[in-house]
């Protein structure tokens, strides 16, 4: 995973609440067995409408999405993160995220910046005043800046550290190999086994 420190680029306002992962990527696109090439699937149904925010010329090349509360609820599909990433989105700003979506984002280097709902509205206002303007999400300083507005955001400390360092989660866990093996040695025999015990 590439280390992340500051993400700058066009910010698009997505003024909807409770954007579930079925909307981010509908189920028909989950049949693919690859991990890339999902840019065409992002918000597939909504993108059929010309007035959808990401269809507007001024937001082409957007790197930051500023969404209403409860972004990424519902299905666990990590494809939602892959679709955002493949489309070019590097950070999503919202006042609340679905738990599984937020976890998936952290694993895939998509920054989820949580700010109070009032700050989401202030950012939307700044974007509306100057559509297509660049914004900046600074992971080191935990700030979002757009025009003369700067607000701070929340992100889990551990996720932030991993993103800043670009660390692979599995590699980190395997540093605990001895502890895992020791834990396995003391597991009770009644616990389930999917294969016949020899």
């Amino acid at each position: 995973m590439e280390p992340i420190s500051v993400i700058s680029g066009i910010a698009a306002p997505l003024k909807r609440s409770a954007v579930d992962t079925d909307q981010i990527i509908p189920a028909e696109f989950l049949k693919r067995v690859t991990k890339t090439g999902f840019d065409d699937a992002l918000f597939y149904r909504w993108r059929q409408h010309d007035d959808f925010v990401l269809n507007q010329p001024v937001y082409q090349g957007a790197r930051i999405l500023v969404a209403g509360p409860d972004f990424g609820t519902g299905s666990s599909r990590e494809h939602a993160v892959w679709a955002l990433r493949d489309f070019g989105i590097r950070a999503v700003i919202s006042s609340r995220f679905g738990d599984i979506f937020r976890g998936n984002s952290g694993k895939q280097g998509l920054l989820t910046a949580q700010v109070p709902e009032t700050d989401v509205v202030r950012i939307w206002d700044a974007l509306d005043a100057n559509p297509g303007i660049s914004a900046s999400v600074d992971l080191v300083a935990r700030t979002v800046s757009v025009a003369d507005l700067t607000v701070t955001f929340e992100i889990d400390d551990y996720v932030r550290w991993r993103l800043l360092e670009g660390l692979d989660d599995i590699g980190l866990t395997l540093r605990n190999e001895d502890a895992i093996t020791a834990f396995e040695a003391r597991r009770e025999s009644w616990r389930p086994r999917t294969l016949p015990v020899r």
Binding site: D20, R45, P69, S76, G98, G103, I170, A179, I180, W190
Partner: protein, 496 residues
């Protein structure tokens, strides 16, 4: 030291490495369920890193999301679905994972298969690349959905780094009226706390109404915890749990069983434990429940009217409700019972177990479906299908005019050919009424199996209560499956 909750006990007993300075705990995973949709990229990741599956004996796979529910002996028509299924078969063969393929009698929806094999048990941790993994919490397991990166992580390490959660008690006291079921409880809970109310929490369902539910009912409730934003929902294990589990293929035996029960008996939340949040629901007052909008929290009692968004105080909720009514093509103030449906879907990991099918059959037996309504009945697993057929439920379904299908996720999410056409309206026993969930442009009303059955008979959203005055050869409504976890057949038997 104050007492601990059920969730905290299970968590504590799975900590491999306690996190320090804000880093997560490393949690051991007892059971990893795998299906075709969220696993291909995870197996690819293992391959690229040259890693094996660490614990094949704690891993099991099945095919469910893409599988057709008709003509399962023929090749899958859709080439992308076929490729995804084939990819799972190749991965299972390459890595040595136990797989139940289409046509196998243990094939079915992953959350139906785990419990019926006796793999799901109290006090264990269960994960799957599917948000409805919360289902398994009904046994007092800590069970939650994960993304594909985490699937790869568990395949490689049998652990996950996880942050501790908060705990919420959902206490449901009282006795459900006949015709009111577990599904109505959970739809009410979600409407009450909202689709984000459970975010960051593990929900523990408690109280007399939960205690009196069967395991199938408890699974329905825990299944939809994620629709309230919670990754996991749990019910403390009790005699109902043990009776369900004992004798199943993978349930412990002999000394192991005794040791397990001795441990499981210690898991219930301590009397002096403190929850971070508490919610109370009066079971006595519950009525059959139905959703009117495009998220599972947008629901009301079936006897009510479509709400008026203008009455909502929160601006976001108001905007969401307006959008939802537009998508659902509903006018505020319309009595819900006047809403006509085009389709009824009886199935999904929420409501496709044998008791769900029995409940549905108890209402439709001896009747005919409404003209012009398409009714699809999809058992949760091949085994459930066989069990239902042994009881004659398939015959009741087909004589009613409904379709009796093979097992899978089917029209819950329409990854296979079972989809709504644009504009079609469906009463569905599934778990999500999101825009386009059951097919592009499809409109979903989430309901219980009993409401699905009554709706299929009358053609408009209905509960068994609406059938009381209809001439019918079916058994009286008060013999239906209710709060006490009896099956209709058992209830009938008790009366005879």
């Amino acid at each position: 030291m104050t007492g601990r909750t059920l969730a905290e006990k299970v968590w504590d007993d799975h900590v491999v490495v306690r996190g320090e300075n804000g880093s997560p705990d490393l949690i051991y995973i007892d059971l990893h369920l795998v299906h075709e949709v969220t696993s291909p990229q995870a197996f690819d990741g293992l391959r690229q890193a040259g890693r094996p599956v660490r614990r094949l004996d704690l891993t099991i796979a099945t095919e469910d999301h893409n599988t057709p529910t008709l003509a399962i002996d023929r090749p899958i028509a859709d080439p992308t679905s076929r490729l995804q299924i084939q990819t799972l078969r190749d991965n299972a063969a390459d890595f040595g994972v136990r797989l139940h393929s289409l046509g196998d009698k243990e094939q079915g929806i992953v959350h139906v298969v785990g419990p019926q094999l006796g793999l799901t048990m109290p006090g264990i941790t269960v994960v799957c690349g599917d948000s409805h993994t919360s289902t398994h919490g009904a046994f007092g397991a800590m069970a939650f959905g994960i993304g594909t990166s985490e699937v790869e992580h568990v395949l490689a390490t049998q652990t996950l780094p996880l942050n501790p959660f908060k705990t919420m008690a959902i206490t449901v006291e009282g006795e459900l009226r006949p015709g009111v079921t577990a599904k109505d409880i959970i739809l009410k809970v979600i409407a009450e706390i909202g689709t984000n109310g459970g975010q960051g929490y593990v929900l523990e369902y408690r109280g007399s109404a939960i205690r009196s539910l069967s395991m199938d009912g408890r699974m329905t409730i825990c299944n939809m915890s994620i629709e309230a934003g919670a990754r996991a929902g749990m019910v403390a294990p009790d005699q109902t749990t043990y009776d369900y589990l004992r004798g199943r293929a993978h349930a412990p035996e002999g000394q192991d069983w005794d040791d397990a029960v001795a441990y499981w008996d210690t898991l219930a939340t301590d009397d002096d434990a403190v929850f971070d949040a508490e919610v109370f629901i009066d079971a006595n007052a519950l009525e059959p429940f139905v959703t009117w909008g495009t998220n599972p929290g947008q629901g009301v009692s079936l006897s009510e009217r479509v709400p008026d968004p203008a009455q909502l105080e929160d601006a976001n909720e108001r905007a969401a409700a307006q959008r939802a009514l537009e998508y659902m093509d509903l006018a505020a103030g319309t009595p819900l019972k006047e809403i006509a449906v085009d389709a009824v879907f009886m199935g999904s990991c929420t409501n496709s177990r044998i008791e769900d099918l029995r409940a549905f059959a108890s209402i439709i037996e001896g009747r005919k479906k409404a003209d012009g309504v398409r009714v699809m009945v999809v058992p949760g697993s091949a085994r459930v299908r066989l069990e239902a057929e042994a009881e004659g439920i398939d015959r009741i379904v087909t004589e009613f005019g409904a379709e009796w299908r093979f097992a899978g996720c089917s029209m819950c999410l329409g990854m296979n050919p079972d989809q709504l056409a644009p504009g079609e309206r469906c009463a569905s026993t599934s778990n999500r009424n999101f825009e386009g969930r059951q097919g592009k442009g499809g409109r979903t009303h989430l309901v219980s199996p009993l409401v699905a059955a009554a709706t299929a008979i009358r053609g408009t959203l209905s509960s068994p209560w609406d059938l009381e005055n209809d001439p019918s050869p079916a058994e009286p409504v008060d013999a239906l499956v209710g709060s006490r976890g009896e099956t209709p057949r058992q209830a009938q038997g008790a009366e005879n």
